[in-house]
């Protein structure tokens, strides 16, 4: 063999080496040689520790106390969530898995059959289509639940398109709320943002003439600001100045955007950003030396903000949410608040280290609702029956106080929405205060 031949053999060996090394790494990966760190959070801040009061959960799901029979065929639910990429929302999966554990261990599963999640995770646009195809062609799956998807959601909906029922978990993009063949049992961004606008127009903060908005320049926040928030305010003669920042904006960019929007001089300042943007906003307000009235969404009060501020929230801020709060004690007159407290107890018992705020709770609630639907229809529920049941589900939704639950009838603009009520709370001097929510029976009808 000549010199050239030897070089080629070496190159072939090296290429084989590439494949072998990649394969070795792959083997290491598939054998679980690594793990992701989780946020250290102790769930259930406002609820007492101790055993779980299952009666509330059993009443909701219609199940029987005790464990499901693992020898029976499972009831499979397709589950799609954006995981592993940037951004990703693993807390949805924590909430869904927590619910499955709890339902199978203490609520008797579905008529004694264990409930089983069949996960399909999305990190790329292609994955959305793949998950849709997988669930569409899997005869054992008659219902699909989503967590949060900002990538691949459109592809997923287009594949399933009325052929299998979809319950959309925590939607963020316009596409999540414009699907006629899917349901969302939370008010989501449309309900919360529209509700905030309505509250301001109705004088929730007194006479408001100018509003400054800083929103992230992504599909969800842009649509929220431009379609849902600004139009009702402008129609009421309130001047709205919107400034959009890149999802990767740095602290200085956020401060600059607040200045540009007139955050320091407007009557109300509204940041519409994910939690890291809220942290930047809180710090920027301090460094700019301004003291605006801040009204923002529940996306802001996640664990990172609490940690960043050393165990508290920005003083005086108003938060728009679903009408009940993790941080207020449950009230017997507000069943959703008791359900929320139950969820926090389940967190404590099964996964105390999970990030329990944010999207985990609503996803837990969706699994409870799915269990209720299956308990009513039986384990052999067909696609048609489930499609009807999900469309005609009249509520109440677990952990959500808004009523009525009326899918497709809340607003013509968002046929997916089933709930149109939301609430507002304020954090003031170390305490959470109900402003207009389920606790004071003043839920805001966002589209009313």
């Amino acid at each position: 063999m000549g010199m050239i031949g030897r070089t080629k053999v070496l190159r072939a060996l090296r290429t084989t080496g590439v494949v072998a090394a990649t394969g070795l790494l792959a083997a290491a990966c598939s054998s679980g040689g690594s793990s992701s760190s989780t946020t250290t959070t102790s769930g259930g801040g406002s609820s007492p520790s101790g055993s779980i009061n299952n009666s509330l959960a059993l009443t909701y799901t219609g199940g029987k106390a005790g464990a499901a029979n693992s020898s029976l065929a499972p009831v499979k639910v397709g589950y799609v969530n954006q995981q592993y990429g940037s951004p990703s929302y693993p807390e949805n999966t924590d909430g869904a898995n927590l619910a499955v554990k709890y339902i199978n261990a203490q609520l008797g599963g579905v008529q004694g059959h264990p409930i089983q999640l069949v996960p399909c995770y999305v990190a790329t646009e292609e994955d959305g289509q793949k998950c849709g195809t997988q669930f569409l062609n899997d005869p054992s799956i008659n219902l699909v639940l989503t967590g949060t998807l900002v990538i691949g959601n459109d592809s997923l909906y287009k594949v399933l398109s009325g052929q299998k029922p979809i319950i959309i978990g925590n939607g963020l993009t316009v596409s999540d709320f414009t699907q006629a063949a899917a349901q969302s049992y939370q008010p989501g961004a449309p309900g919360v943002i529209s509700g905030m606008a309505k509250w301001l127009v109705d004088g929730g903060l007194g006479s408001v003439k100018t509003v400054a908005v800083v929103a992230t320049n992504d599909a969800g926040a842009t649509a929220s600001a431009k379609l849902l928030f600004a139009p009702p305010l402008e129609a009421a003669g309130i001047k709205v100045t919107e400034v959009f920042i890149s999802p990767t904006a740095q602290g200085a960019d956020v401060a600059s955007a607040i200045k540009a929007a007139g955050g320091g001089t407007a009557d109300v300042f509204v940041p519409i950003t994910p939690v890291q943007g809220c942290i930047a906003v809180a710090d920027a307000i301090k460094s700019l030396g301004i003291n605006p009235k801040v009204v923002t969404t529940g996306l802001c009060f996640g664990t990172p903000l609490i940690k960043h501020l050393g165990g508290t929230f920005p003083n005086g801020w108003y938060f728009g949410g679903y009408g009940v709060s993790y941080f207020l004690p449950p009230m017997a007159s507000v069943p959703a608040s008791e359900q929320l407290a139950l969820y926090e107890q389940v967190v404590k018992q099964y996964n105390p280290n999970m990030e329990y705020t944010g999207f985990a709770g609503p996803t837990f609630g969706n699994m409870m609702t799915i269990t209720q639907l299956y308990n009513k229809l039986g384990t052999g529920a067909t696609i048609a029956q489930l499609t009807d049941a999900t469309k005609n589900f009249a509520g109440p939704q677990f952990g959500i106080p808004g009523t009525p639950v009326a899918c497709g009838k809340i607003t013509a603009a968002f046929p997916t929405l089933c709930v149109g009520q939301m609430g507002i709370e304020q954090f003031l001097n170390g305490k959470w205060i109900p402003i207009a929510d389920a606790y004071n029976n003043k839920l805001i009808n966002a589209f009313g």
């Binding site: 050239i4 031949g5 080629k8 072939a12 090296r14 290429t15 590439v18 090394a21 070795l24 790494l25 290491a28 598939s30 054998s31 040689g33 992701s36 760190s37 959070t41 102790s42 406002s46 592993y84 990429g85 940037s86 951004p87 995770y121 292609e126 289509q129 793949k130 195809t133 062609n137 459109d154 592809s155 594949v159 316009v174 596409s175 599909a219 649509a223 431009k226 959009f244 904006a249 740095q250 602290g251 200085a252 960019d253 401060a255 600059s256 200045k259 540009a260 929007a261 890291q276 930047a280 700019l288 030396g289 990172p304 609490i306 940690k307 960043h308 508290t312 929230f313 993790y326 705020t357």
Partner: protein, 750 residues
């Protein structure tokens, strides 16, 4: 200066400079007269300092090793996470390391010994334990595990080791490799670092406590600046002065500068260019990482994206400084930061042009591209190309033989497969076919003409959005719609490719990357263009026959409704790929193809031989944009919609990596590249057969890319070709035919 000397100085050539100077003075005056604008500019200092720091790291890298490091932002982000892990949790995280025992364990599990377990390589090394904290609102607030100084010290040590590893394991073997291989390796490094962080920390933002004092500094006229940002600026200025002094007054610095001009110069000074590169890699990695550590608290939190993407303005700053002057790099970095902040403010002013009544989104992000274009126009040909001892050419671009029958056979076989395989494999084939089209566009532009483009996915997106927002909106039928999209992509591609007439190599890569960022932010994310309701794409239909992937279909044999995706869409993709493959093969064979290879090989020699270098480049940009545009339209049909993120700058970078991994200079390489893409055949093999979680696919792709860039620049297709060639040689030698009987592939020339 008297009147006559003033007249002689004031030549027509100097008019633009004088006008620009006067305008500059007026603008600065207006800004300073307005406290809001002054505040905005001051607030941009902090971000500018970080941009400058990353740009300094890039310049240092380039001076030391000739590598323009696209992973510099990722290194800064990684440094921030190393510090975060140590400071908060007392843990040093390790990247996924291949465990040689894993295959044994896997075999044991396959044999039924499910409980058999061998030691695993740890994920974290615990060096300190966090002390007890307090619970507030259900959240456990723990005290930091490690003092700031200790976490900083260990972080710097880790960063130094990383710098050495990057040099010895990745870039030293690539010292003589073509620019493209170095770009691809740094893209691989970018992918790997981001994937490791997402694996270890998830993509959620982590709150980071301040290192530097944060009390706002109050300035005159109500202007204020957080003191940590001011400290960051002072630190970056100090570092710049230090680097300037090091490179100006020390023998080491002089040798590095000499090496950056000509590596033989460093040898004459008694320094090994290899040693210089190693030291500079350590220095640049520590520099970027340390500023990542300092900047994370200024941004209030750390996540895998924010600092990483500062690579775009940082590259603009480094380019402005010609990858050589630290002082200009600093000024440019700070300037970009301040200008970005200022644009953010003024774009909301009533007198500034608006889109749908609001400030034009993405305008600030477009600033680096504008700066780059201005710099290129002003002094394009004087931009540096580093002199190394010896440079290996781009991989061989083979001239295909028997391509028509091969294409037909493979096409028909693929069509057969589309009807035979299960739906998930059908989907994988479709994804691979669409990927092949984008990779083919890179074969023409980069493989044949040597023009490194990091904007092909952005061009595909232009076509996809045109299909959705123009063709579909105006009911323009198939196939005119996708062709119209491709034509618009050609127009944009030609416009963005104009700078290619003045620059080449890595500078062009920077330009096209900045163009992709601009297109993504200014066009795709602009509601005025892309709309708030998303951008749907109608299913393709011809003579009433709908063949979109989600359209119902009837099985050709036996009847009955078939499972989705609709294989006829796959058939359409196969036909498109076959047509494009044959077109590209014919381009390679033709006179135009020979001109392209001549330009790739040596522009001056090509020009001397009568080849129009500019014309050939423009043609290549146009053809590649057209092919990418077809790919964008296919992608729109595939998903039923187009999204900004799918066609952004990072996907463009990743697609170059796929194409390179497959083999960028051959049509067969594009085919392999398509097989590798996300959701393609290889990913499906990984997940369906090898049961590897999707969370590792990006990491594996990055590692594979780096190894391939080092070991086999010809890509997988080239390796296969070499293997076939080897077999032929063996056969020939057994037939007593000498080695010289079969010609060795050589670098293509005219």
């Amino acid at each position: 200066m008297n009147a006559s000397s003033l007249r002689s100085w004031f030549t027509p050539k100097r008019i633009p400079a004088v006008v620009a100077g006067i305008l500059g003075v007026v603008v600065i005056g207006v800004i300073l007269a307005n406290s809001d604008q002054t505040q905005a500019i001051v607030l941009g200092l902090g971000g500018g300092a970080l941009i400058a720091a990353i740009a300094l790291s890039i310049t240092l890298n380039y001076q030391g090793s000739g590598v323009v490091n696209f992973a510099a932002g990722a290194i800064a982000m990684y440094g921030g996470y190393v510090y975060y892990g140590l400071r908060v949790n007392g843990q040093l995280f390790l990247p996924p390391i291949p465990n040689p025992l894993a295959p044994i364990e896997g075999i044991a599990h396959l044999a039924g010994a499910a409980s058999f377990s061998l030691p695993h390589i740890p994920v974290f090394i615990t060096l300190a334990h966090p002390s007890q904290g307090t619970a507030a609102f259900g959240t456990f607030i723990q005290q930091p595990a490690m003092p700031v100084w200790a976490a900083l010290l260990i972080s710097v040590m880790v960063l130094a080791v990383m710098g050495l590893a990057f040099h010895f394991l990745i870039f030293r073997p690539l010292r003589r490799a073509p620019v493209l291989a170095k770009v691809v390796a740094s893209v691989g490094l970018f992918i790997v670092m981001q994937a490791v962080i997402v694996l270890r920390f998830t993509s959620s933002a982590k709150s980071v406590e301040p290192i530097l004092p944060t009390k706002p500094i109050r300035m005159p006229r109500g202007v204020s600046l957080p003191s940590d940002q001011m400290y960051l600026v002072l630190i970056v200025i100090a570092v710049t002065i230090g680097l300037w002094a090091l490179f100006r007054f020390t023998r080491f610095g002089l040798a590095t500068r000499a090496a950056s001009e000509n590596e033989k110069g460093a040898l004459v000074l008694g320094y090994s260019p290899d040693f210089l590169a190693g030291v500079n890699w350590v220095a640049s990695t520590v520099l970027a990482g340390c500023f990542g550590i300092l900047a994370a608290p200024i941004n209030q939190s750390i996540d895998p994206i924010t600092i990483t993407l500062l690579i775009v303005p940082a590259l603009a700053a480094a380019l402005l400084a010609r990858f050589s002057s630290f002082v200009v790099t600093l000024a440019a970095g700070l300037g970009i930061g301040m200008l970005t902040s200022w644009i953010q403010l003024v774009s909301n002013k009533s007198w500034f042009p608006k889109a749908n009544g609001s400030a034009i989104p993405g305008l600030a992000d477009a600033l680096p591209f504008v700066i780059i274009i201005v710099v290129l126009v002003l002094r394009g040909k004087s931009l540096p190309t580093r002199g190394s001892i010896e440079t290996i050419k781009l991989p061989f671009a083979p001239r295909s033989k028997g391509s028509f029958p091969t294409t037909m056979i493979l096409g028909i076989a693929t069509i057969g497969l589309l009807f035979l395989v299960t739906p998930n494999w059908r989907l994988a084939i479709v994804n691979s076919l669409v990927g092949m089209v984008i990779c083919l566009s890179l074969v023409v532009l980069t493989g044949y003409v040597g023009q490194i483009s990091l904007m092909q996915m952005a061009l595909a997106g232009i076509s996809g959005f045109t299909l959705s927002k123009v063709a579909d909106a105006h009911h323009i039928p198939f196939p005119i719609g996708p062709l119209l999209g491709a034509v618009v992509a050609v127009i944009v591609g030609l416009l963005a490719g104009v700078p290619a007439l003045r620059v080449r190599g890595v500078n062009l890569a920077v330009v096209t990357f900045a163009a992709a960022v601009t297109i993504e932010n200014l066009v795709f994310a602009n509601p005025a263009w892309s709309g708030l309701q998303g951008a749907s794409v109608r299913s393709p239909s011809l003579f009433g026959f709908r063949f979109g992937p989600n359209d119902a279909w009837t099985k050709p044999f036996g009847g009955g409704k078939g499972l989705l995706p609709n294989p006829w869409f796959g058939v359409f993709c196969v036909v498109v790929v076959m047509v494009l493959v044959l077109a590209v093969v014919n381009i390679r064979r033709s006179r135009i193809g020979r001109h392209m290879l001549a330009v790739r090989s040596n522009e001056r020699a090509a020009a001397a031989a009568g080849v129009s270098v500019s014309g050939t480049k423009v043609l290549a940009f146009g053809v590649a944009a057209f092919i990418a545009g077809i790919g964008g339209a296919l992608s729109g049909y595939r998903f039923g919609s187009v999204t900004a993120g799918y066609f952004g700058a990072i996907p463009s970078m990743i697609f170059l990596a796929y194409a390179y991994l497959g083999g960028i200079s051959s049509v067969s390489g594009a085919m392999v590249g398509g097989i590798i893409v996300a959701g393609g055949i290889l990913t499906t093999i990984f997940t369906n057969w090898l049961h590897i979680s999707e969370q590792y696919t990006l990491l594996l792709a990055g590692i594979g890319l780096i190894i391939m860039a080092i070991q086999n620049p010809k890509g997988v297709a080239g390796a296969i070709r070499d293997g076939v060639h080897l077999v032929q040689r063996r056969r020939a030698s057994t037939s007593d035919v000498s080695d010289s009987a079969i010609p060795e592939p050589v670098e293509a020339t005219v």
